[in-house]
Symmetry: C3
Subunit: 371 residues, 3 copies
Amino acid sequence: MDFLSGFFTGFLGQLQSPTLGFLIGGMIVAACNSQLQIPDAVYKFIVFMLLIKVGLSGGIAIRNANLAEMLLPAAFAVAVGLIIVFIGRYTLAKLPNVKVVDAIATAGLFGAVSGSTLAAALTLLEEQGIEYEAWAAALYPFMDIPALVGAIVLASIYTRKQRESFKEEFPSKQPVAAGDYAGEDNYPTTRQEYLNMQHGGASKKVEIWPIVKESLQGSALSALLLGLALGLLTRPESVYESFFNPLFRGLLSILMLVMGMEATARLGELRKVAQWYAVYAFIAPLLHGFIAFGFGMIAHALTGFSLGGVVILSVIAASSSDISGPPTLRAGIPSANPSAYIGASTAVGTPVAIAIGIPLYIGLAQAFMGG
Amino acid sequence: MDFLSGFFTGFLGQLQSPTLGFLIGGMIVAACNSQLQIPDAVYKFIVFMLLIKVGLSGGIAIRNANLAEMLLPAAFAVAVGLIIVFIGRYTLAKLPNVKVVDAIATAGLFGAVSGSTLAAALTLLEEQGIEYEAWAAALYPFMDIPALVGAIVLASIYTRKQRESFKEEFPSKQPVAAGDYAGEDNYPTTRQEYLNMQHGGASKKVEIWPIVKESLQGSALSALLLGLALGLLTRPESVYESFFNPLFRGLLSILMLVMGMEATARLGELRKVAQWYAVYAFIAPLLHGFIAFGFGMIAHALTGFSLGGVVILSVIAASSSDISGPPTLRAGIPSANPSAYIGASTAVGTPVAIAIGIPLYIGLAQAFMGG
Amino acid sequence: MDFLSGFFTGFLGQLQSPTLGFLIGGMIVAACNSQLQIPDAVYKFIVFMLLIKVGLSGGIAIRNANLAEMLLPAAFAVAVGLIIVFIGRYTLAKLPNVKVVDAIATAGLFGAVSGSTLAAALTLLEEQGIEYEAWAAALYPFMDIPALVGAIVLASIYTRKQRESFKEEFPSKQPVAAGDYAGEDNYPTTRQEYLNMQHGGASKKVEIWPIVKESLQGSALSALLLGLALGLLTRPESVYESFFNPLFRGLLSILMLVMGMEATARLGELRKVAQWYAVYAFIAPLLHGFIAFGFGMIAHALTGFSLGGVVILSVIAASSSDISGPPTLRAGIPSANPSAYIGASTAVGTPVAIAIGIPLYIGLAQAFMGG
């Protein structure tokens, strides 16, 4: 029962973290009918600040990494990030009453990486004396950013298809496109409705590339990729260390507050499907970690990628982001219900990844070492 | 004449402090017809940031305090905070030509606590070798927050009553309710007009609880209480230390600038009543301190609350806030004239509390020790 | 070829600096038709924060300086700052196809001072063992602020004159006045058009003082002068060190991003005149430095101002600001094209000042010492 106690300690710690505290605070504020509001202009700027920071830190990490040596593991990280999103798209999103955009956003969050889970794994590896490449931790942006971009693009494609078929039937209404900031979009997007619409018409082909392009031009991915490019190509360390990084946690807490205020209104949507999210959030981290472990072992066989590095790749895949994910998904898939993806990640996914995933992959690596 | 020189040194120091400097700067900018403006969205966010921080620091202080041991002094602190507001309501607000909302806001500010006055008292107590409980300084939020909440609720009740009677006579106009951010409300609220209206009609009962509830739901108290709850129930120290606390002084200086810009236009309103504010600001700190001293002595007799602690309770009561008060009152009682309450506090109240109040209560405590 | 390699090292370093990185990033984002935007309210507040900081740091520097001793050099610094603006007004602005407001803004930027260029000069002076007065570096606000104020006033006068003559011919349209924040003003202001208009009518006198007054009341100069006054007359060090200064670099990078996004659309305007800006940006720093060197030698002869101080005055004149200049000019002369003045300064002016100017003035001073 050691991991159960570890699980609950992790769970309680999460509940008291400022991130979740502000989220729940926002929910209570909204439930009390408070008039508290964060002005829209400030909110948009906060999202911009968060996304630029996520991009910058990824870009700086990649620039400082040894790209030649880490080529294969990095490519595998990209692949795993995208695979995770597709798994969510074709499992969670297909469950009854689960809204497709909520499921895609959740999959994106589970594909993105949690820095604190990664830090826990590094600490444990060192305690166990398992060696790993110094650059292995820098693999995280190679999984984090493709997963988030992939989820946003997938959601855009889905929303566009819906819009096309919706237009044919109800030409006057105009649902909001994914890829823009904010906007309250209560557009009905359960799988059932989707199926109904498919019947109604619109099984015609939607072109993918214009949607990808439009997603990348949206304010969310623009900010993320701008930060990435600046981190890669210029020397923004001074401004990153003195401005974007120190403000990050605080601005994130305010974002969480806003998301909490919105979540209250949409919590009811989840009543019928909460069990599916719980199941997904329990299984997905472990499954994602095993997939990454498999890819890692291929790199181990081909290029001598260390077993410690394989564990790190697995933990990166098993973790779900409470940092880069929420702002990116909130801005990139505004129609998705934040209660769904944040709830699944913080309440179940992260404790599972830390308490079950990390010991599991380390044990597995040690078994291979002995073998 | 030692305390006179102390008084003037304190007074001059106050004038050069950034807080007052930005207030006067704002007044001059407005007097020069400058087009300088702080955008409304940013202003609202700044007020939110300040109120959350005030709440968080209060909540953290209470959480870290030994509640069982400090129960009676804490209850007395709450009582004194509310008594101070009622004293202002039934003295200053009744003076000729003094606007009732201005008087209530001023009383709220004098009930709130100044951290720097408190720090000065602690230094002196240590120099004199007077012992006090380690948690005594943590009594401040128990007086600070009830005084501010009390003032806002009292102002809401008054404004609502006015609105009711006003409606009966002039059904078309709609004064702004207290409890909302901002809004220029030049609604005539002198005692004289109030009395006239009372004659005109509307002595019927106004229900209190809906107004209290509405005040608590207003953006000002929501933010304050949200911060308090987060400070009490979660562990927001990391985000408090890295974000809300370091930004506080700077954001406060910008709030002061905005308040100064508004003050210019409303300085004229005070010409006829400035003497009443001066008298109040001189007497009130000393009176409040004596009341708290009395309550403190009761706790001393009943539970052995130290005499040093009694001094601290008195100084907390004597001090008037230049930190938590202005943003809370500006947002919670938008129709009150900031020149009135900030002028009374910084120009007279704070120097009196520091130069006369602190030595007085220490001398009194030493007299009791000797006795 | 030593200075050529120094020139190119400086040039490449500039390209990777966060300041220029964000500018180019903004240009690329806009070129990709991204929907990324900084909300207007936040943008205005960022400009305010930057200008207050520039003013505060100038005011604090002047307050801490020995005014009596530095009187003559300070007066000369003011004179050189204004002369630089007038030189630009009557050389660059008279070149074919160069827009007058762009030229005035560029001259203002070249009159303003770069802290990093100044720091480079101080380092070199100390390496060479050349003595200078401790207050010499505090001369910078005496040149910086008059140059920026002068440029904004000159641009206002020009724009007003244009408006007057424009009104006579086309009474309905209303170009935006300089001195206000933002506003897209594509009002045609090439010298040619100006001459055409002069022909058309309106050679009547425009009154100067109302325009100066209006410029000073504009939000840009109000914020700058408010900061200056607060720095001079109060003790804002605590709030400056904890708030305005640490946020400066980060907020500047966001301003640069916005300016880059705007620049893309207006880069085409510069195609025909880029060579004039290149010529100006190469010659002007050296010329400005020589003028200041002459003034410095007068002070050397009259009051014994040190030769090291003369070098510092020259470097202050030769440098062009990448810190105080862009936000001030963007807000004060909104119709000027940022690509013109920032491009001229960062791409050519600053490398020339550092790689050619500093060694030149030090060599000159050493020649006088030997003589």
